[in-house]
């Protein structure tokens, strides 16, 4: 690891300080970062948003924004000092030596130029003549497994899916066969199955080309799949570094320990206990810190921690932690201890909400888009029904139909046995207050011109029908319930962090004592530590008020944690519905199986990954027979193409839509996980 031979390292960063000048003051964001990526190695940089990951990447490619500057330290790529480069040398460096792939592929491509020209451009800057460049571009797209590169090259970026755009960018990044490839959250905006494909592609190309990779992500699961070594960044400080396996098994910094504990994994469920959280907030931009950067939030902090900055100490030759008490890191006390008594769900009684044969067809320029087809399900009081499926599978449409925002084409929704008007305008106050929603993006969900106080009082007035001092009392009660402070009331959303905003949105949904709250990806815009706190809050509210949730998420760990039952949608059809453990443990529907194996988890997979080929087919012309047959790895043959299997109750409470009988699925799925067992 510590080779001094020049050229043996792809990237060497030493004592790097970077600061941004904001309102006349330099604010330090990277504090003495030292790291090294060996030739052909894949190094992961992990940390919550705002900790400086992208700043590090931008410093390395010399693309810091104008107000950013390297104030100390050195960076060298392939043995060459990067910070000294100017003019032509700098252009050469960016054109030939490093490549970077950004999080948002849409923004990185020029919307008005055809994809082919943009990829070819990556070759022409290297001096490849025009005609050759086009051929090379086609080969490059082929190499990143884009089907039919010829037609893709003629399209404009917006005509490609997110996964394809990201592949095109990877093709461009690899065109120059760079010494160092930096990937900054390359899959964050993508669906789980697409993410899995892109990650596979990157590992495969890396193995083939021996490219050195700096992989940046907030997701430890992704890092553990992609990288051999990992560095944990907190407030611009590298706090722990080591081989991925070691860091996951034996983390020695309290921040890493906390981060790992926040993630719902290993099949934990809400009735097993609450998730641990990391209390407090990241220090503000450029804060002066004496002592340990994590001291404010660390349960092990003592006077020494606050006075004296710990060094990055080697625990083993390859594993280092910046903590005075790294030997005690594993004993970090839990932040939340009180366990909850969750009320048992009584499914013998009447369901709270029933969806009966709901279908929704959108008419679009002559096409009929079948967003939902005959979906039936029930939700009982106090339970959580998790809803999973790839993007475009109809999850949001189902939720919006239940809420009355889009009227169904056929079928009905019932609330406590009574038929709900199909449009929210026709619903009574009772019906409106019974069904509320928490959105994915709290920035969009809260009016930026209204104070928290105004937001909550208005909801109390409209949903609970209270005003004056009664509303005031109820508002303070709500604020306390969702763990906000009174001070928040006078603030506007911009003044709050993402987690606090989501708490306000939850308080608003609970203003009228709802019976069911739709949660549409409520934590996917949040960091894992904040996500854990929000999930805990939702579970607490459920225990207290016996509210039911319809919980939509692409994060299967989260869905499993919070759900009592799970519904799996594919192309608008319910494929599987059953108790959470049964759906996750199997035997499961082939689609569920594929979804589960696509997700990179911190625990790693014992089982071979199943890859879903291609994109989800268009809902405007769904495949005949079983709609999943075009991608199903277990497809039987003609029967799957011709006859749509019915949704049958294969065992008590477990419904599935597949021609393969349950016992056969059990045998197949067990047989496949067998060979892995001895090596695991």
């Amino acid at each position: 690891m510590s080779s001094t031979e020049p050229g043996a390292t792809a990237l060497h960063v030493a004592d790097l300080d970077v600061s941004y000048r904001v309102r006349g003051k330099d604010r330090q964001v990277l504090r003495g970062v030292t790291l090294e990526v060996a030739r052909g190695e894949s190094y992961g940089l992990v940390g919550e948003s705002g900790c400086g990951k992208s700043t590090a990447a931008l410093a390395i490619v010399r693309y810091l924004p104008r107000n950013g500057a390297v104030s100390a330290g050195s960076i060298s790529v392939a043995g060459r000092d990067v910070l000294d480069l100017r003019g032509q040398k700098l252009r050469e460096y960016r054109a030939r030596t490093v490549s970077m792939v950004y999080q948002n592929p849409g923004a990185a491509l020029n919307p008005s130029i055809r994809v082919g020209s943009q990829v070819a451009e990556a070759f022409t800057v290297l001096g490849v003549p025009g005609g050759d460049a086009t051929d090379r571009a086609r080969d490059a797209l082929d190499r990143v497994q884009i089907a039919d590169p010829g037609s893709v090259m003629r399209r404009y970026p917006h005509q490609l899916s997110g996964g394809m755009q990201q592949r095109a960018l990877i093709a461009m990044a690899l065109a120059k066969n760079p010494e160092l490839l930096i990937l900054d959250e390359p899959t964050t905006g993508l669906d789980a199955t697409v993410e899995a494909e892109v990650l596979d592609l990157v590992s495969q190309l890396q193995a083939e080309l021996h490219t050195s990779v700096l992989f940046i992500s907030h997701n430890l699961g992704v890092i553990s799949k992609m990288c051999s070594r990992v560095g944990v960044l907190y407030a611009g400080r590298l706090v722990e570094e080591g081989p991925v396996g070691t860091i996951l098994r034996d983390p020695r910094h309290p921040y890493t320990v906390g981060l790992l504990r926040c993630i719902p994994r290993g099949g934990v469920r809400k009735d097993h206990g609450r998730l641990d959280t990391i209390p407090g907030f990241l220090p503000s931009l450029g804060a002066e810190i004496t002592g340990c950067v994590f001291a404010d939030r660390c349960a092990l902090a003592d006077d020494r921690c606050r006075a004296e900055e710990p060094r990055l100490d080697k625990i083993t030759p390859v594993h280092a932690s910046r903590c005075w008490h790294h030997d005690r890191a594993a004993t970090l006390p839990r932040a939340e201890i009180a366990d909850l008594e969750l009320p048992a769900v009584d499914r013998a009684g009447a369901p709270l909400v029933e969806l009966a044969q709901l279908s929704k067809v959108f008419k679009q320029r002559g096409h009929e888009v079948h967003a939902l087809t005959e979906v039936s399900a029930a939700i009982w009081p106090g339970e959580t029904l998790g809803l999973v499926g790839e993007s475009g599978s109809g999850k949001t449409t189902l939720a919006r139909t239940l809420l009355g925002i889009v009227p169904p084409t056929a079928g009905t929704a019932l609330l406590e046995g009574g038929e709900l008007p199909t449009r929210y305008q026709k619903r009574s106050r009772e019906e409106l207050r019974a069904l509320q929603i928490v959105f994915q993006n709290p920035d969009s969900a809260l009016n930026r011109r209204h104070s928290v106080r105004r937001i909550l009082l208005r909801s109390l007035k409209k949903l609970a029908g209270v005003g004056g001092s009664v509303a005031e009392t109820r508002m303070h009660d709500l604020v306390e319930r969702v763990r906000l402070t009174e001070r928040t009331l006078t603030q506007k959303p911009v003044q709050l962090s993402g987690g606090l905003k989501q708490r306000v949105a939850i308080a608003r949904a609970f203003a009228g004592d709802p019976k069911l709250v739709v949660c549409d990806e409520p934590t996917s815009a949040l960091d894992v530590s904040v996500q854990a706190a929000i999930l805990n809050l939702l579970v607490e509210l459920q225990a207290e008020k016996r509210v039911a949730y319809l919980f939509i998420s692409h994060d299967l760990g989260v869905v499993r944690y919070i759900s009592d039952r799970i519904a799996v949608l594919y192309l608008g059809r319910l494929q599987e519905l059953g108790p959470a453990d049964v759906v996750f443990e199997g035997p499961h529907h082939p689609y569920t199986e594929a979804l589960l194996s696509a997700v990179p988890t911190v625990d790693g997979g014992g089982r071979d990954r199943i890859r879903l080929d291609g994109d989800i087919p268009s809902a405007a012309s769904p495949p005949s027979g079983c709609v999943f047959h075009t991608r199903c790895p277990r497809k039987l043959g003609a029967v799957c193409e011709e006859t749509e299997p019915p949704l049958v109750e294969v065992e008590a409470g477990h419904h599935m839509r597949c021609h393969i009988p349950l016992e056969e699925l059990r045998r197949l799925q067990r047989a496949e996980s067998q060979p892995m067992a001895p090596t695991a």
């Binding site: 929603i437 603030q491 911009v494 709050l496």
Partner: protein
């Protein structure tokens, strides 16, 4: 759960506001524009109290005098002091143009909110009408309206310009509302049973104010121009008002013999239009930063 981040963000919002004001005060184009505007506003307010002669009634025996130390901008055919008339001439236009802009903004904003929020048939119909109206040259439209209203009072001019400008403002507002109505807070409001007018005016409107303000300041510049043009062709303000356009309209036939009766009012109009544009440009720049 007190948030360090939140505290700093809060003071940051305040700092950002102060920063915007500072940027504005440091921009030379804003300072010049605002200075000229302030000058004409003062003249309009004080009127004949600051003019050396009465702009309407002081008809000296010195007819059609060239500019001199006595009469800086000369006198017109009736012997009135052109300098006094130029100083006093800002009053009517500074009443009519802002009033017309305000009316147009109110009307256009309402139209824009309705079309952008409801979409569907209301939007299609109103938007077609707006497009049609916008296709007609402004002056032709204004003249048609003035003629059909049949009145040539200051009121008529105000209303005419408001009518002509509101579709333009409506279009800007509609575009802003279309984006805003996609946001989840609008859906949340509907799901708690809010009526449409509450959602439009209490929820959406405050969020589309910045583009409305920018558009209104731009329209103000055009409104000044429109009032002047209408007046010049005889459909706006009427003599003996000392209005600049009235002066030009009265005297342009005698341009060759007494250029000063046309040149000085024309410079005055230009200075006002330019001043308003300078202010609106710098406000826009600061808002959109």
């Amino acid at each position: 759960m007190t948030s360090v981040a939140a505290v700093s963000e809060r003071s940051e919002a305040r700092v950002a506001r102060r920063e915007r004001l500072r940027l504005l005060l440091r921009s030379p184009s804003f300072l010049i524009g605002a200075g000229v505007l302030l000058f004409w506003l003062t003249c309009a307010l004080l009127g004949s109290r600051i003019t050396p002669y009465d702009p309407i009634f002081d008809q000296t025996s010195d007819l059609s005098q060239r500019p001199s130390t006595e009469h800086w901008f000369g006198t017109d055919r009736l012997g009135r002091d052109v300098f006094s008339r130029v100083l006093a001439g800002s009053r009517d236009i500074l009443l009519i143009a802002p009033a017309a802009t305000l009316l147009a903004t109110i009307f256009g904003t309402t139209l824009g909110l309705i079309t952008g929020y409801f979409r569907g048939i209301a939007d299609d119909t109103i938007s077609r009408v707006i497009d049609a109206v916008l296709a007609i040259p402004l002056i032709v439209l204004a003249v048609t309206v003035v003629t059909s209203v049949g009145s040539r009072s200051a009121w008529a001019v105000t209303v005419v310009i408001a009518i002509v400008f509101s579709p333009i403002i409506a279009r800007t507002v509609r575009a802003a509302v279309l984006g805003e109505a996609q946001l989840d807070y609008v859906e949340a409001a509907r799901l708690r049973g809010e009526r449409s007018h509450y959602v439009m005016f209490a929820e959406v409107l405050p969020n589309v104010m910045p583009p409305i303000l920018v558009e209104a300041t731009i329209r103000l510049g055009y409104a000044i121009f429109a009032v002047a043009t209408l007046t010049f062709i005889g459909f706006g303000l009427q003599p003996p008002s000392p209005d600049w356009a009235v002066q030009i309209s009265d005297n342009w036939q005698f341009l060759a013999e007494q250029w000063w009766t046309v040149l000085f009012p024309a410079i005055a109009i230009a200075s006002l239009v330019v001043a308003v544009n300078l202010v609106s440009d710098s406000v826009q720049q600061v808002l959109e930063r």
